[in-house]
């Protein structure tokens, strides 16, 4: 710990001890949480949009410019951004945010990942060997991430540590308040079966008691085939699955076809800020998802 503190002191300019941290996050949900924790003591930028597939963001040189003078780089981890973020970090030539440096934060490090494959191989599709990386669909995991971010900010800018702690407390209070509301809104739909486009809603399902019965992709990263879609329709009819969840970065033809064929409600699930029209923050994205699912289920019951 002493060594870490010494390294941080060497790498970070003295003015930063009570200044404004420049933070760059890979995805809008992380950026929003970082913004809530950093408050006025941090300036947060994001490398992607909420309606972009976080697996396939292009490593454009213009994104490198954002990282060149960053003090902190935050990634989702569990290899979600493995196809693009490493090139940006290396291309930034910024020693403060290289993987071994104090300014590099893998937000997944205290998360308990779901779906960790025992013997991962490519016949399983594009699997993540460390586990499913879409853990922020469970709002309870945002508490763990917020604590990690607060600790990291406090370590790098000890002069503002009290501000970060205060912001963390306020964040957790808002989260608790919202969680109570979300739990109440989703309680009637516990046990609801659903189909999603990609296997990215397991954490959300786990939190609110929904049951995933299948995905539109036959395997992670593999586009749907006619045969698989037919099988899925048969499965949905047999199990009376009332809900199809998708995201704006996937093609809409197959989810629409599934909904048409089975009578299931089709809901666009926001993966974070900008993940659906009018959604501007992480809490709003969870709010949108809960409301949209509850509304679709209530409509189905009528």
């Amino acid at each position: 710990m002493k060594r870490l503190a010494l390294l941080a002191t060497l790498l970070f300019p003295a003015g930063l001890l009570a200044g404004t941290l420049k933070v760059v996050a890979t995805t809008p949900d992380l950026a929003d949480i970082a913004g809530q924790i950093g408050g006025s003591a941090a300036r947060v930028e994001c490398l992607s949009k909420g309606f972009q597939d976080p697996h396939f963001v292009e490593s454009k040189p213009s994104l490198i410019l954002k990282l060149m003078d960053a003090d902190v780089f935050i990634e989702t981890g569990l290899e979600l951004e493995v196809g693009w973020a490493p090139l940006l970090v290396q291309g930034s030539r910024n020693l403060r945010i290289q993987p071994a440096a104090p300014g590099f934060l893998d937000a997944s490090k205290s998360i308990t990942p779901l779906e960790v494959p025992q013997n991962p191989n490519r016949s399983m599709g594009d699997v993540h060997p460390g586990g499913n990386p879409h853990y922020l669909t469970d709002p309870e995991n945002s508490r763990i991430v917020a604590r990690e971010i607060s600790d990291k900010f406090g370590e790098l800018a000890p002069g503002d540590a009290a501000v970060f702690q205060k912001n963390l407390k306020e964040f957790e209070a808002r989260l608790d308040e919202n969680l109570a509301r979300w739990n109440a809104a989703m309680a009637p739909y516990k046990g609801t079966r659903f189909v999603s486009y990609h296997k990215n809603l397991l954490y959300f399902a786990d939190r609110f008691g929904l049951i995933p019965v299948g995905e539109i992709e036959p395997k992670p990263g593999i586009p749907p085939t006619a045969r698989h879609t037919e099988d899925l329709i048969a499965l949905m009819k047999a199990q009376k699955v009332p809900l199809v969840l998708t995201q704006p970065f996937y093609e809409s033809r197959t989810p629409n076809f599934l909904a048409d064929q089975t009578g299931a409600a089709l809901v666009t699930f926001a993966m974070g800020p900008d993940g659906a029209p009018g959604v501007k923050s992480y809490f709003e994205s969870v709010d949108h998802n809960v409301r949209a699912i509850a509304a679709a289920m209530a409509k189905g019951e009528k």
Binding site: G83, Q90, S92, F249
Partner: protein, 390 residues
Amino acid sequence: MRFHKLRYIFFAGLAAAWAAPAWAAAPANALNPKISLIGDFVGQTGTKNQTDDGFAVREIELGFQAEVDPYAKADVFIGSLDDKGHAPELEEAYVTLPALPYGIQARGGKFRVNFGRLNGTHSHEYPQVDTPLVLTSFLGEEGMDSTGVELSRVFNPFGVYTEATYAVLHDLGDTQTPPNVVDQVKDVNGNIVNVQAAQDEATTPQRGRNFAQVGKVRFYQDITDTTNLDLGLSGAVRRPEGLDQRQLAAVDLTFRWKPLAQGVYHSFTWRSEALYSRNKLVETLDAITQKESQPAATVNARGAYSYVEAQPAMRWRFGVREDYFEDPDNRVASAPHITRAVSPYITFTLTEFNRFRIQYERKRSPENGTENLGFFQWTIVLGPHGAHPF
């Protein structure tokens, strides 16, 4: 007493193991380099002499990549493991220092030189089955690779990404082979025969100016969230005393369109690269008669390629490439030795790790006249997911 001590150690060990932090559970091979293997299987038909027709494993490339320590990263690629009996060849082996003071990045070792647009990437990542003809002609079959040191830095004038790269290299790879240079010598019967001129470093004293120098400036700008322009200006020079001297220049321009929301389904790319070569050839004397067998000459040549590629669906890409080049090795002909070609192609990407491609090429060259070539390519990737270069 001893029993109690052992029992204490046993339970303490058990407790420590149970309470071990997550990193303690990392597998023993966690620090091993990432190993990848890329296989490139190609088929070709329609060549004039038919010697190159048929199927072949063009290359098996073995890659090892790992962090050396907190400050350096190493990349090693062993290539040319083909089915034609060629010996394995060290394609690249370099160490990168990603973040030196003043925002400088350095790499040293053997690497594909950052010259032009495509030369820095491996051939199996090229957008077509064959390498653009001007690159093969000007930079050699394997492209410009060499051993040396490269420094680069990114600037941000007026919000434009500007990357400057400068390298000092042992040579310019295969680009300086003078294939048409011959010496005339007498054989044992007194007959005059042509032999390859002795111009390689093995027979020529090394001088201080033997190093090659390569520089590139790259400008990148987003036009909108979905479109961008990429411009590169490159130059390479090698002026060894007493040997042929080579200067190369390249301009590359790329326009890209890719929607943010459904970028995996649609894209469009237009890329062009133009090269200029200046070969200053030294006078070559006959080994025995000491008479001039090849006069000093300067050969200038130009060449370019341009292609457009559209992706209408997740797995499909359709494109067409046009090639033009003047042969920089043809020093005899007074008129430029021009080759032209046009090559439509289709790429089917089953997954990121498994790709098929077919290509037709109509090529017109002074040596072979008009050729109608057909290509097939199947490329597979084994190993961990790597980042996609932009």
